[in-house]
Symmetry: C2
Subunit: 393 residues, 2 copies
């Protein structure tokens, strides 16, 4: 069965993570994604953290795409890019504001060729304002959005980063959803449009519900001291680490039974979810004091028997072999023509009728240049001429 | 102008965060989202962290929805739920596996009423396997997915949580995108389907590209020691904290100039992006030693002049007043009928033709029960009868 986005063509002129992962999600769902790169190294992620020119991160962020190289600084390069745009539903770029226009690939220029195009601009900070001109990487957005402050060390107050590129990838998910919504609107109205998305905006919107809960109500009735939802619920046991937690009354009662602490059931501070939230510090300290007394599996069995949410803390090795990870078939192995045997996570959503799939390994730079140009009507001699001129890398 | 999902009706029978935020994203884009809750407290997030029955997190996770109360344990409640399903495009539930079926709201039962329904099941761990029966909260998925291990303290090795409910909310984004893709497929084929999404699967897929880069290539050629993309790039200055970083050669050269360290330009370890990644620990230590010598603004000005990605570390108070946050109009103020004046982040994506909007404040429990039942054809006396029976709370 074809994927949900079968028949949709996406031109991915993005680099790094936010744009490439957004386009890959669409590719996982069946879109024909063509990644356009410049002659030279191409997308920098191809080599970042790699010793032989093909990074693991590139491989998993750019599967289900074809790669073509076009030198957009030449008239011929731009001409063939525009022939490609004529066949496309979506064009995604994440240059700094103004750069696409200077290259001749602004919205106006492309809409003249393809009136119903969904044109997508992903930026770091937006298209105007004091940061608009700045280069962006994920850590910059983590600092500016408040994420590093939310993650600050509880003892020293030193801001900390999330050790994943969370802003880049939540921007990718946000972009993929917005693009899909625009494709649905286009299907219903016949009209394309321009989607603008800043990583800063996506990150603040993402963390707001609990991250800014203390800053949501304003004015006289403001409750700035509201507890934050996200606690550090890692507990040390006699032989490792586990997590466990209770929100509802029944879960709390189960936790008290599992930990053999019936006196907590009578404690006036802990009678309601709101009370337990308010008194989280002393509650978590007391929980830690009990859990250190026995091994992880002892507690996990007792907590599970009482229906209390709990899990072992897995590292990246034990993750691969965990029975639930195996049951869900999360990790798939395949052969990459350059990198060799590889593991990756399958697309997480399971469609009953339009399954997402891993159809193509991430391409080497320019792997499909000839194929795509031929589809656009270029003859062999034309392709040879372009290659001779350095336009195809 | 109406939103991209104008005319789509979503029945949101979810609680906590993953499902409610997914449905809210669709509501932000114009869908008519009807949140169905049981008599009593309703969604637990309504009261979590709140002292007066309306939490900030609920307010921002459930805007753009209507709320109805139906007791699904009664025949009348189920009957009216099914009348509602007849009018819907999407039904989302995040009960534990099997619970929706036991309530009479399994896929088969609902598809008999509405053949082209997009039926969405969000679970913690999947529908089978050793964890399928378990209750889930965000920390449990953080531990089981490896996130807490990725976030581990570099000095002590103690696993740490990300202090946002990252798995819940990336699952929400993943679900919203998949639902939108299924709506597009339905628009084109006329067919509905069942989307299944586990938080565990969504989280592993999210962190994999850089989080599992060391575990991607397998076998003889495996490069397990590959550096990880995400460093903790928070640096202390003479008066606070900033972030800065350089990936490309030109950015690295700019950083060396801004920090007045021309000797780094000659250092053989730092000549290529791959080399700088490989030698990150000593490079970051040396960078910290320089940056501590001057105040934040001194460095930010010099870094910006050299076009090096950089930013101050903002906390949640300074975030609200930062010029770029103001320029982007990220934060909007509005009045909530119960909570009073509130701030929240607007939907981050900007559609040129189908703008997302904040149309409705998050509803109080059952605020729209009568309105929705009347739309379904219930008479006033029928509604009175249902209310008298306790079915509407």
């Amino acid at each position: 069965m074809p994927g949900a986005l079968d028949g949709i063509r996406v031109i991915d002129m993005t680099q790094m993570i936010s744009g490439p992962v957004a386009a890959r999600i669409l590719g996982d769902q069946g879109a024909d994604v063509i990644k356009v790169e410049s002659p030279g190294v191409g997308d920098l992620v191809r080599v970042m953290g790699s010793r032989d020119g093909f990074s693991a991160t590139f491989a998993t962020s750019n599967r289900n795409k074809r790669s073509i190289v076009l030198d957009m600084k030449t008239g011929d390069g731009l001409t063939w890019m525009k022939k490609l745009i004529e066949t496309a539903d979506v064009f995604i770029q994440n240059f700094r504001p103004g750069a696409a226009e200077r290259m001749g690939l602004g919205e106006e220029a492309l809409r003249a060729i393809k009136p119903d195009l969904v044109y997508v601009s992903i930026s770091g900070f937006g298209e105007s304002g004091p940061y608009a001109h700045k280069r962006v990487y994920d850590p910059v957005v983590q600092a500016l959005s408040g994420l590093t402050s939310i993650q600050a060390d509880r003892d020293t107050g030193r801001p900390r980063m999330m050790r994943l590129i969370v802003p880049d990838k939540l921007t990718a998910l946000t972009a993929a959803q917005a693009i899909t919504a625009a494709l649905l609107a286009k299907e219903r109205t016949g009209k394309g449009q321009h989607i603008r998305l800043a990583m800063l905006d996506a990150t603040v919107a993402f963390h707001w519900p609990e991250g800014m809960a203390t800053h949501t109500w304003v004015g006289a009735g403001a409750k700035r001291k509201q507890a934050q939802l996200a606690q550090d619920l890692v507990f040390e046991t006699a032989d490792g680490y586990i997590t466990c937690g209770a929100v509802s009354d029944s879960e709390w009662q189960g936790l008290c039974r599992a930990l053999d602490m019936p006196e907590w059931l009578e404690d006036p501070r802990y009678q309601t979810p709101a009370g337990r939230m308010l008194h989280a510090p002393e509650r978590l300290t007391a929980t830690q004091e009990v859990l250190i007394g026995q091994a992880s599996q002892y507690w996990l069995d007792k907590l599970d028997a009482e229906d209390v949410p709990s899990a072992p803390v897995l590292d990246r090795d034990t993750l691969l072999d965990h029975p639930q990870v195996l049951e869900n078939e999360i990790v798939v192995e395949s052969e990459h023509p350059v990198g060799g045997s590889m593991r990756q996570a399958r697309p997480p959503e399971r469609f009953s009728e339009t399954p997402s799939s891993l159809r193509r390994p991430a391409p080497v730079l320019g792997e499909h240049t000839d194929e795509v140009l031929a589809e656009l009507g270029a003859t062999t001699s034309e392709i040879d001429r372009l290659r001779g001129g350095g336009i195809l890398g």
